[in-house]
């Protein structure tokens, strides 16, 4: 049979549309690429990533790894990535706690707790996060007293315009033993949990899991610490005339970024948690109450496991948002990856390469977070029989 290629053939049209779309995109990309090359030649802009190995020549306010202004650019970028990761990791943990508290608080029987959760969410969700960061920055750098009048929050903890100083254990090999002990405790706790579960399924009696598990973990760490010689030396900050020496310190930039992001994202997490809890049918709670479970047991055993399935996908989005919003740190000078790239653009003029670095870093972080949460989501999903 002879095939007639006519415009009425659906296959042909589909093919034509796709070829046309691809050709359009390719032509557009080619046009932009050509323009870029021409512009770069005209303006004498060099391209390529070879600048990564040349000396950066600028200082970075805070860095988790050793960094000097004589170090190459790639090391400056690495510092930026680590600073971004530091804010994102601590922020994700803190925002989960705050958001869960506020989200569960909306279902409290206490009117003040309900009102407070509601007020917090409405107030901080409706103000741009950048404005909140700037406000926290002013609060931390202008309203607090100068360093020679630093406020002593607790013995050894000082807060002032220049940041917060607090005691930090001096590194000793015993700490490695403590970490090993904690790991052993974790393993023991996991084994105990399995055993408790088997007991529960055999006898039907609930077996305490949380407290003994925590005791195993803490006990393991404590035992490791004792075996390691109980190193107790602390590096305690000492307040001098113009400077606070010793201890660990948080800069006001870091505190502003972290506080602003956690409080802003916490409102969205609270809404996600609330929606998740509301999605659990009321009959489940009533049935649990009829079985004689306490309110706390209803929440932990019946509501939360079901709500978690609804919560996890939007929660992942909020984690990604927090990570992406940490890029606003550039506005208050916290040296995250965007801030460092901005400096690098101004120094080298290689906008294309530096923006490519920013985008690659965030894309990688997004994909990694999605993959991790996807794995957890599959674990929490209903196991259908």
């Amino acid at each position: 049979m002879q095939r007639r290629w006519s415009w009425r053939s659906r296959t042909l049209r589909a093919l034509a549309y796709q070829v046309f779309a691809l050709a359009l995109i390719a032509a557009g990309a080619g046009f932009l690429m050509h323009n870029t090359l021409v512009n770069m030649r005209v303006r004498g802009i060099q391209s390529g990533f070879d600048f990564l190995t040349s000396t950066a020549g600028f200082d970075i306010g805070e860095s988790p790894i050793a960094y000097e202004s004589t170090d190459p650019y790639w090391k400056a970028f690495a510092v930026g990535v680590l600073n971004t990761l530091r804010v994102a990791a601590i922020g994700i943990v803190a925002t989960t706690l705050l958001g869960t508290l506020a989200g569960v608080g909306r279902f409290s029987r206490n009117a003040i707790v309900r009102g407070l959760s509601y007020g917090y969410v409405e107030l901080f969700r409706n103000v741009p996060v950048l404005l909140q960061l700037l406000t926290w920055y002013i609060l931390f750098t202008q309203v607090l007293p100068p360093i020679n009048e630093a406020i002593r929050l607790a013995p050894g903890i000082y807060i002032s315009k220049s940041g917060m100083s607090f005691p930090w254990p001096l590194w000793a090999p015993g700490h490695a033993m403590a970490a090993a002990g904690a790991l052993a405790g974790l393993a023991a706790g996991w084994g105990y949990r399995r055993w408790a579960r088997i007991q529960f399924e055999r006898t039907g009696k609930p077996w305490p899991v949380v407290l003994p598990g925590a005791a195993l973990l803490i006990g393991g760490a404590f035992a490791g610490w004792l075996i390691g010689g109980a190193p107790a030396a602390l590096d305690v900050p000492v307040k001098g005339e113009f400077v606070i020496e010793g201890g660990a310190a948080l800069t006001p930039e870091f505190m502003s970024v972290l506080t602003g992001l956690v409080i802003y994202t916490g409102t969205f997490v609270a809404e996600v948690v609330r929606a998740g809890i509301q999605a659990v049918p009321r009959g489940q709670v009533e049935a649990a109450a009829a079985l004689g479970l306490s309110r706390w047991q209803q929440m932990r055993l019946i509501v939360l496991p079901q709500a978690l399935r609804v919560i996890i996908p939007p929660l992942t989005n909020q984690y990604l948002n927090l990570t992406k919003n940490s890029s606003l740190a550039v506005a208050i000078g916290y040296p995250d990856i965007v801030s460092i790239s901005n400096t690098a653009i101004n120094q080298t003029g290689r906008a294309v390469e530096c923006i490519a670095v920013i985008m690659a870093v965030y894309l990688a972080l997004s994909l990694a977070t999605s993959a991790l949460m996807g794995w957890y989501n599959r674990r929490a999903a209903i196991r259908e029989r």
């Binding site: 870029t36 741009p128 404005l131 406000t135």
Partner: protein, 367 residues
């Protein structure tokens, strides 16, 4: 046989379940943890609020007097700083004598937005009013016509710029988002992949990097000799960014339209575009109005980021107003609170509207 019938003592009346006392008993002291929480929180408020009230009201200075503000420093707020700077904060660097123009243009835009949210105005005229008002907005702002003095875009600023950026970017992103959402559900693999790559790529990077691209990289992408105004570049950046998020919202609506609708349309002999336009999109878009509204709210908040690439919208113009003036700079925090209230008022009214639409929509579905 005396006292054969002693009446029983009267039982206590049942607990009252109405009235303020009962409310306090059940809502504030329902159980002992609840009672402890109530006492702790009330204590906290009693400790904090009087100081806050003192600062914000009792010891506050409302007159634009620098001396009074300096005297009250540390004990009271200086709202006088806002009285002094409000024109600069709200209109940015727009020429002082011409500031009625951004005011009129913004009011027209707000009126259009309000009309678009009101059912009575949902007709053909609204569709015509949109392009008309958008063109009028640009004409009023930039001038050069009808004898208005020309004002270059780098002098635009403040609240008009915030409202303009968010409205224009959502209005432009919306058609693009519908196309991309349709593309992601298309049966043509090349188009589906292109749309998916676009959405995932944009959603994976922060807006700041897109703005950097608009600011630093865009000039390199244009043919030599062509230069595009920075405002338009940034607007294009926000539009492309917002379209990816909006496309996901629209796709959610498309997925919620039952397949039977499309099959029924096909059996009636409608073409692809007829099906989408007459059957699928009206149902899908009606379902995602709250999502679109949320998208608008986040774009409204996101416009504050353009201050990073030196456009002076509300947040930027506040910095401009206070940073350039050493006398008033210490009172920037009051300025931040002031624009926070503006953002809050806009965002809250939008989210309230979105809630109203949601209940409205679900009412029609309930039987």
């Amino acid at each position: 046989m005396a006292a054969a019938l002693e009446p029983l003592a009267a039982r206590a009346p049942p607990m009252r379940t109405g009235g303020p006392l009962a409310w306090i008993r059940t809502q504030l002291f329902g159980s002992w943890p609840s009672g402890v929480a109530t006492l702790a929180l009330v204590g906290l408020f009693a400790w904090w609020l009087p100081g806050l009230f003192d600062w914000a009201v009792l010891h506050a200075v409302t007159a634009p007097s620098l001396d009074a503000c300096r005297a009250a420093r540390g004990s009271g707020a200086c709202w006088g700083a806002i009285v002094e700077k409000h024109r600069l904060v709200i209109f940015g660097r727009y020429p002082f004598d011409e500031q009625w123009r951004p005011l009129a243009a913004t009011l027209a835009l707000l009126a259009l937005l309000t009309a678009s949210c009101t059912r009575v105005f949902w007709n053909r005229w609204l569709a015509l009013a949109w392009p008309a008002v958008l063109v009028a907005f640009f004409a009023l702002m930039s001038g050069g016509v009808f004898g208005l003095a020309s004002v270059p875009t780098d002098r635009w600023g403040g609240l008009p710029l915030t409202i303009m950026l968010s409205t224009f970017s959502v209005a432009l992103a919306f058609p693009l988002a519908v196309l991309v959402a349709l593309g992601r559900r298309s049966t043509l693999p090349a188009i589906r992949t292109l749309c998916a790559v676009y959405v995932e790529l944009v959603r994976g990077v922060p807006l700041v990097s897109v703005l950097f691209m608009a600011s630093f990289m865009f000039p390199l992408l244009m043919p030599p000799g062509v230069s595009i105004d920075v405002l338009l570049r940034v607007l294009a950046g926000i539009t492309l960014f917002g379209a990816a998020y909006l496309a996901e919202v629209v796709r959610g609506g498309l997925q919620a339209v039952p397949n039977g609708q499309i099959e029924a349309a096909a059996s009636l002999g409608l073409t692809y575009w007829q099906t989408q336009r007459k059957i699928v999109l009206p149902q899908a878009l009606a379902m995602v109005v709250p999502g679109i509204m949320n998208s608008f709210i986040s774009t409204f908040k996101d416009t504050s980021l353009v201050t990073i690439v030196s456009l002076y919208e509300l947040t930027g113009s506040l910095g401009l107003a206070f940073d350039s003036d050493a006398d008033w700079r210490p009172y920037k925090i009051e300025g931040y609170l002031f624009i926070a209230v503006i953002y809050f008022a806009f965002c809250l009214s939008m989210s309230r509207y979105s809630l109203w639409v949601e209940t409205h929509l679900s009412r029609s579905r309930e039987r």
